[in-house]
Amino acid sequence: MVIDGNPNAGSITETFSLEYLRMYYGKLFPYTDMFQWMSYGNDGKHPGCDLSFFGRREFSFTLDNDIYLRFQSFSNLAEMENSIKEKCPFKIDIGPVYSVDPAKRHAYSQGGNSVFAPVERELVFDIDITDYDDVRYCCSGADVCLNCWPLMTAAIKVMDVSLRDDFGFNHILWVYSGRRGIHCWVCDGRARRLTNEQRTAVANYFHVYKGGENSLKKISFTGAALHPFLTRSYTDVLRVIFEEKLLCSQDLFASEERYQKILELIPDETLVTELHEKWSGNKRSTTLNNDRWDHLKHTLQSGKQKVQGLRRCVEEIVFSYTYPRLDMEVSKSMNHLLKAPFCVHPKTGRVCIPIDPNNCDDFDPTSVPSLSELLEELNAAGLKAEFENVSEIEKTSLGKSIKFFRSSFLHPLLKSCKEELERSHNAKLQQSKNSLNW
């Protein structure tokens, strides 16, 4: 591959290859930003810095031919950059910060004293669209399209607001996982220091959609009211996305097989029969989905339905079809690995770029920059003089993503890390002064 030669010579055809990846790591991967992020302010000259901090973080690499290297660690930016460039990993995972350098864990574990333990880790969430296969008809498995992506948008909106307003977190990064879902990194100091038990509690707070293959009803609300978090999620996000997007884009009521699945969620047989009779034999119409949904709502919510179980049925249906389905295990423990942002997915060639939660409606997974596009952009830019003083990454469509990463996530995060460092350092100084006085 030639970057600055004749553009025809380097025509880019495949979506992914080791060669492309090597170019990507050589020219585009944002090492400095990743290093600054993972250092959380511990890379400066402030006397309160913990200089060993970054070096205790576990990275793990998945190489070509599925070789898996765990417990990689780097003492500084250059070491990380060189290692990534040299090994050219298909996937980079980020693990926790351990009590000691994970690469030397064996040396520390001698004598049976297990000092090697995770001490800090971002609170992370992983949501895969494959877990929604029973409520989407446009795609299945790892495929996504603009018709089912609103399910992910709903997840972002529900969780982002709650993480901020309910839990009080501020430094939250949403990332497209490169193929079939989204990741979330909550990076506030308080989030990073949560114990496994506390992580499990947060994950459970969000865990509404329950049950394996064999239970019919995955969501059931039994209380006299919904928790304020659920009410807010329902009125602000889920109902809107269900009625304005999914109802029609997924044709949820278009065929008997599909509406039957919804009717199964209604515990009253008379009503189900009534609705079923009304709908079967109904002619095609452009507003079929909306009509039937309105009809269902009207039937369930009309004044005469006093049955306890039916009161929440409309909400239950909407939640079943839209509420975020988390991969719980990922969030529950500190030492679960999660793919680093800005990796490239080997199957799609797409970069794991940040998603702006405030504009997540505009995010289009099918137009995320892919490796081949980026390399072409680099080729094209190489020929233009106007780009001379611009870094490589900003010459490409990845530039927008990295700018967003910095301005909305990294810089505010580093600012608050610095403040926190300052505060705890001063507190320590104060303490030692006091003990001197004594």
């Binding site: 009080g168 064999n214 304020p228």
Partner: protein, 451 residues
């Protein structure tokens, strides 16, 4: 060393409230006779075992409260004079017994915490407050203005959890990290990192504190055990301690019984005759989909190991199925490791033990997973169909479904066992591998009488 309370009934002193409940913060300095050491521990174990059984039957909090009270009276309070000492001694003996592996610690922690929770609930409000003070809980009552601003939300939460407390009761503002249990079940209003805890929920604060202190102490006890106690006491306490844990937890089925081995060609037949429903289901799903997700692979794989399938046969078995779906290559790369891992041949090299009913019942199968306890996790309809395929019908089927309705999952499984073997099972089913062993016993004796 200090004992928290000299527990004398305060005769005459009207104002002194002395809680019956101990926090077990420091080990007692007491002379203990060796036989008491063991008897006390066994009595406490009976209480914990009773709690454990009740939990796996899915008892409701109100039932639990009564049960714990009864168990405690029955086993720990035979002689009014020794209450406190017996409580302290038995607790610390069992700490030694149950500190010695992750699995044991988990069980003990969970049972002791449950015991503490219900005993705390039985205390008077005054002594509850004293216990809270002793834990130095950082709770702060809401000011009137704060309360006014979130009043509606607080009452909404109360209604959502079906709580009868009128919403002008006292609320505390607590960092959410302090009350993971309340957060997990959405039982508190959350705002900007604070959980708004109602007075009656404060139990959770105390319980969490108790749990985390005990959890830490167990790890410390373990260190002391391995570094000094085990060696020092090798002729005196060590044998008692080691016997106590196995006697009362029941066998863990990590090794097949009497070195019975089964081979690949037996599996189909055995699945039909001697697998409990949870394993049958996983087996047939595997045959159908040629795939199981992680939860199912663990639950079923460890079961097979426990009934005596060798590592080589296990690899062959899983390979045979998975390769039909994901191909041989992916199987070797992605799944074979996990199987060897279960046999303790990879990673931490722990020989993992098959899951007990309690563990399976309390698991939460996620989307696309087939693990878990069918009696608990299946819908009515699916469960009836599955039982029908096992040959359970008519009256027996209704009996099983009745147990399920009342959350007695293990009893439901026991009834199933009795129905398909036409033979009683007095011990009850508490482990899938036990189901298998008992079933084989019956079938073999039938074969012998037949021949």
């Amino acid at each position: 060393m200090e004992i928290l309370r000299s527990h004398r009934k305060s005769i005459g002193k009207v104002d002194a409230v002395v809680p019956n409940l101990l926090l077990y913060r420091t080990a007692p300095v007491l002379e203990v006779r060796l036989d008491e050491f063991e008897i006390y521990a066994i009595d406490r174990l009976k209480v914990l075992k009773g709690i454990s059984d009740a939990l796996s039957r899915g008892k409701k909090p109100e039932e639990m409260e009564k049960l714990v009270d009864d168990l405690w009276r029955m086993h720990m309070r035979q002689h009014a004079s020794q209450n406190t000492n017996k409580d302290i001694i038995s607790h610390f003996v069992l700490r030694l017994v149950y500190c010695r592996s992750e699995e044991l610690r988990k069980w003990f922690l969970s049972m002791e915490t449950t015991l503490f929770r219900y005993r705390f609930r039985l205390e008077s409000p005054d002594s509850q407050r004293i216990l809270m003070d002793e834990f130095n809980l950082p709770y702060k009552a809401l000011t009137h203005a704060e309360h006014e601003s979130v009043k509606d939300k607080l009452s909404q939460v109360s209604r959502s959890i079906g709580s009868s407390t009128n919403f002008d009761s006292i609320f505390f503002k607590v960092h959410f990290e302090e009350v993971p249990e309340l957060v997990a079940n959405r039982k508190v209003f959350m705002l900007q990192g604070f959980a708004y805890v109602a007075m009656h929920q404060a139990t959770a604060l105390v319980v969490t504190q108790f749990r985390s202190l005990l959890s830490k102490s167990l790890v410390l006890t373990y260190r002391k055990w391995t570094s000094t106690i085990r060696e020092q006491e090798k002729d005196r306490l060590t044998p008692i301690v080691e016997a106590l844990s196995t006697d009362y937890l029941g066998p863990n089925y990590s090794q097949p019984k009497d070195n019975i081995h089964i081979t690949l060609k037996d599996i189909d037949h055995l699945a039909n005759t001697s697998f409990p429903l949870c394993m049958r289901h996983l087996f047939y799903k595997l045959r159908e989909d040629h795939h199981l997700k992680h939860g199912g692979r663990m639950q079923f794989g460890l079961f097979l190991k426990g009934v005596g399938l060798s590592l080589d046969d296990a690899l062959a078995f899983w390979r045979d199925e998975f390769s039909k779906k994901v191909g041989l290559d992916r199987f070797e790369k992605e799944y074979a490791y996990g199987i060897r891992h279960n046999f303790g041949k990879e990673g931490k090299r722990i020989d993992y033990t098959p899951f007990s009913c309690q563990r399976i019942i309390s698991s939460v199968p996620s989307v696309g997973n087939h693990n878990g306890c069918p009696y608990r996790h299946f819908s009515d309809e699916n469960l009836r169909a599955a039982l029908g395929k096992m040959g359970v019908g008519g009256r027996s089927l209704d009996d099983v479904m009745d147990k399920v309705k009342n959350h007695h999952y293990q009893l439901a499984c026991t009834l199933t066992f009795e129905a398909i073997h036409s033979s009683s099972c007095d011990t009850g089913i508490n482990h899938p591998n036990q189901f298998f062993v008992e079933s084989q016993k019956i079938l073999q004796s039938k074969n012998q009488t037949a021949s």
